[in-house]
């Protein structure tokens, strides 16, 4: 097996870091830190995109990287920070499952996603194919984070992290989606954030808190 070229090594390092970040998000309970981790994740994603763009010379990837930078590294974290300050939510409550348990499940999820990615990676022609497993793992770990959180804000952060994972996956499997789609997705994410912002204020106005246990009244079972 020939040693990988330097840029690929870099890319793999990025991917590994992304996975690490996902784990730390899974265990992180301070919301401010969570947002910072998200910004970092965005930055890594941006870097990875740039690397791939440079390597393959595909123009639209640069644009994609720029979008990521603008939206996910700068825009959304800033927005979230503002919200945190305005709404005064810094801490998430005790997670549903304790941290070590969550980690263990996370580990299983990672193993599962690597297994899942195996057949796909084997088919892929892209140089980045080996990182697909990590993309899936990021998605599923973010999913897990959403499940274990009790504050609306941290759920949203995890949700955005899932989007990051999706982008990373798209990039590693196919060097990104067609431009139209990427633009559309970006627009959707932006709008989603705006809607969420509105939402947070509405929720707080009603419940004086962003704690999700207020949002558990519509149910069937006793």
């Amino acid at each position: 097996m020939s040693p990988l070229s330097f840029d690929l090594q870099l890319l793999n390092a990025c991917a590994a870091l992304l996975l690490l970040l996902s784990f730390s998000m899974l265990s992180q309970r301070r919301i401010v830190n969570l947002v910072n981790l998200l910004a970092l994740q965005g930055a890594l994603l941006c870097a990875a995109t740039l690397l791939v763009a440079w390597r393959t010379g595909q123009g639209h990837l640069y644009l994609s990287a720029a979008l990521t930078l603008a939206l996910k590294v700068i825009g959304l974290p800033l927005l979230l920070h503002r919200l945190i300050r305005r709404l005064n939510v810094y801490w998430d409550a005790e997670p549903v499952i304790n941290t070590s348990g969550t980690m263990l499940i996370g580990l299983l999820v990672v193993v599962f996603s690597f297994g899942l990615a195996q057949p796909i990676s084997a088919l892929a022609s892209t140089a980045t194919r080996s990182t697909l497993g990590i993309a899936i793992a990021v998605i599923l770990l973010s999913f897990l984070t959403m499940i274990t959180r009790r504050k609306a804000m941290s759920q949203v952060v995890a949700f955005l992290s899932m989007e990051n994972g999706l982008f990373f996956g798209a990039m590693s499997a196919t060097y990104g989606m067609p431009m139209v789609v990427e633009l559309g997705v970006a627009l959707d994410v932006l709008v989603a954030m705006l809607v969420l912002g509105v939402f947070f204020f509405q929720i707080r106005e009603q419940f004086d808190s962003l704690d999700l246990h207020h949002l558990e009244s519509l149910k069937e079972g006793e």
Binding site: V96, L140, K219, E220, G221
Partner: protein
């Protein structure tokens, strides 16, 4: 579509006319004059026309047509054959009487608007007709469910009464479940041809297993409609809840569509039924007959009593169906034809007699506002017309010669009697027991009917208010008369009817054409040597004897007739409350068949100044079968509801687990 004259087209035109009459009622829905006094007689005319057409067409070969309605690949197919004609005749003739009666019956301010009633009523009639004519599964199901739906709305005419609402609900629920079952049966019968016409089903070859599944589903579905035990629970609730003409239609005609369905499925669509299916039908029929009649005997509500009696009669009819299948499956064509004729005859009979009785109760209800037998009595003085016409129905349904009920009973017993050669010993042993049960049920029906007539019309009025009761109006009498004449006619001229039914039976059972034996006045299924019944002669002799006796006694003994108070046996005050109540009259039956009833007694204390003994009789099957069923569903629903916790994390977990599980599945 061919528009030239054919019986089929003419029948369809009548159905269309019914639909149009119904719609016409909605032009001015509040006008009683238009809806009741004008449109119902028109509907009755249509009924007569349909009956005439159907009778004329019975012996003619099947006709078919395709209507420009329905699903793209499945337009409505219609087909009239002898079997359909018999039931069409039943529908037309019975509904004519009921429609005439309805003309006078519906009054202002009773539940729904007259126009709406008119619409529902005529749609009900038309849909029943379409059920009989349908020749593909879709048209059949549409007509079938329209029938259920329109009758549901008729049942809930007085929807402000909670009991009527729950009766309607139960009715529609069971009807719907039954309809789904019928639909699934059609699904089996189409046999992978994806053709839902009955022709395709006739051509499809099913394995015995699948054929049994189809028969079972059909039996369940049609049995639910017919009110076979244990699917009968809706019937004693829904039939009494409806206005009386509708009760008459439901009991008299609608139940027969279920019989038609079973006959159509087992003999026509499935080809040759397997003989042991007959035992299933026979068993259910006998059970229903017995169960129905003992419950009828202990009822205190006159319409409910009649409803239970309908269960009994449906049971008898299904007994006949079962016999037919057993004989047919054993290759005994002639006997199968005899049993089938008995079945069809009883269908016709029951349509007339039950209609008379229900309409009679309708008149009583109108005159007195009372359904409870315990508050009626002595109405023969106030309502002689209704009383005497009802008496005909009572005697007929009790199976007494020379009226019609006896004829079908006689035929059925003959079929049982000659069953000795079924090539299966076990069945041979079983059939006589069946005959015994039929005999018992008929005798019990007599008991029930004496109670019904005696408590309502005879004796002293149990309530002071009854003194103001008035007899039925002219048109109502006319309707009753028509139906009562039907009972008499069917009773006195059975040969003519049976000759026609024989054609149907031979057609349905695919037997070679032949002629029904016997003279015009003498009913003899096999040969006069074996068994014969000549109602005209019997009736004539009895009548002559009665007349001679009456005239003779009067001529010879001219003693006076004095009126005096009834003998009080030494009691000082003999009042109406000393008569048997309905509960009292049912007491022997309650006593004898106690294990079948679920009774709650309310015994008065010795210190009670106005003591009242009350007993309510419940249906054990309701508590044993339906309540647990409902409880199970509720229990499951409670468990299922716990899935919806309200916590978003849980919901996300569901998605997560689903995703992981599916991915694992794919890997």
């Amino acid at each position: 579509m061919d528009v030239s004259f054919s019986y089929l087209n003419a029948c369809l035109a009548v159905l269309l006319a019914w639909g149009a009459i119904g719609l016409a009622g909605m032009i001015r829905p509040r006008s009683l004059g238009i809806a009741a006094r004008t449109l119902f007689p028109l509907g009755a005319l249509c009924g007569i026309a349909l009956a005439v057409l159907a009778v004329l067409s019975i012996a003619t070969p099947a006709e078919r047509a395709v209507l420009p309605l329905g699903l793209p690949d499945l337009p409505f197919h219609v087909r009239r054959d002898p079997l359909a004609s018999v039931f069409l005749a039943l529908l037309g003739a019975a509904s004519a009487g009921i429609s005439i009666f309805s003309t006078g019956y519906f009054r202002k301010g009773e539940g729904a608007l007259p126009g709406l009633l008119c619409l529902e009523y005529h749609v009900f009639l038309a849909s029943m007709g379409l059920v009989l004519l349908a020749d593909d599964a879709y048209a059949f199901m549409v007509a079938w469910e329209t029938m259920a739906l329109s009758s549901y709305f008729l049942v809930t005419t007085q929807h402000r009464i909670p009991e009527i609402r729950s009766a309607g609900f139960l009715y529609l629920l069971i009807a719907h479940v039954g309809a789904i079952s019928i639909l699934l049966s059609f699904g089996v019968m189409q046999g992978g041809s994806w053709q839902f016409t009955f022709d395709a089903m006739r051509a499809a070859h099913l394995s015995p297993g699948w054929a049994t599944v189809a028969f079972g589903l059909a039996m369940f579905g049609f049995g639910a409609k017919a009110g076979l035990v244990p699917l009968h629970v809706w019937l004693p609730e829904a039939h009494p809840a409806a206005p009386s003409p509708v009760s008459a239609l439901m009991s008299g005609v609608m139940l027969k569509t279920a019989v038609y369905g079973v006959l159509r499925v087992s003999f026509d669509l499935l080809g040759t039924p397997q003989w042991w299916w007959g035992l299933v039908a026979l068993g259910l029929g006998l059970l229903s007959a017995f169960y129905g009649v003992i419950f009828a005997a202990v009822q205190t509500d006159m319409k409910r009593l009649l409803a239970w009696s309908s269960i009994e009669n449906v049971g008898v009819i299904f007994t006949g169906v079962g016999l037919t299948i057993v004989f047919h499956g054993s290759g005994m064509g002639a006997l199968a034809a005899l049993a089938l004729i008995a079945t069809l005859y009883h269908c016709l009979n029951h349509a007339f007699m039950k209609s008379v009785l229900f309409l009679g109760t309708g008149s009583v209800l109108h005159a007195t506002g009372e359904r409870n037998l315990g508050r009626l009595g002595g109405l023969i003085h106030r309502m002689p017309w209704v009383a005497w016409l009802t008496l005909i129905g009572v005697l007929a349904i009790a199976g007494l010669p020379p009226l019609n009920g006896f004829v079908s009973e006689w035929l059925l017993l003959q079929a049982f009697l000659f069953a000795g050669d079924v090539p299966r010993t076990f069945v041979n042993m079983l059939l006589p027991v069946g005959a015994a049960v039929v005999a018992l049920c008929t005798a019990l029906a007599g008991y029930v009917m004496v109670k019904f007539f005696g408590v309502i019309f005879l004796g002293q009025p149990r309530e002071a208010a009854l003194a103001g009761a008035h007899d039925a109006g002219l048109v109502e009498r006319l309707g009753l008369l028509w139906l009562a004449l039907g009972c008499v006619g069917l009773g006195l001229f059975p040969v003519q009817v049976i000759e026609t039914l024989d054609v149907v039976a031979r057609d349905l059972l695919k037997l070679p054409a032949g002629r029904w034996g016997g003279d015009w006045w003498l009913l003899a299924p096999a040969a006069a040597r074996h068994a014969a019944y000549g109602p005209l002669a019997l009736f004539g002799v009895t009548l002559i004897v009665v007349a001679l006796a009456g005239l003779g006694v009067r001529a010879v003994y001219r003693r006076r007739v004095r009126r005096g108070p009834a003998w009080d046996c030494g009691f000082v005050r003999l009042d109406a409350r000393m008569q048997d109540t309905a509960e009292g009259f049912g007491q022997p039956i309650r006593h004898v068949f106690e294990p079948f009833f679920q009774m709650v007694r309310e015994l008065p204390t010795p210190f009670d100044f106005a003591p009242r003994y009350r007993v309510t009789v419940g249906d054990r099957l309701w508590t044993l079968l339906y309540l647990p069923l409902g409880a199970t569903v509720r229990w499951t629903a409670d468990r299922v509801a716990r899935l919806q916790q309200g916590r978003i994390a849980t919901y996300l977990l569901y998605s997560f687990v689903t995703l992981i599980a599916l991915l694992a599945l794919v890997l």
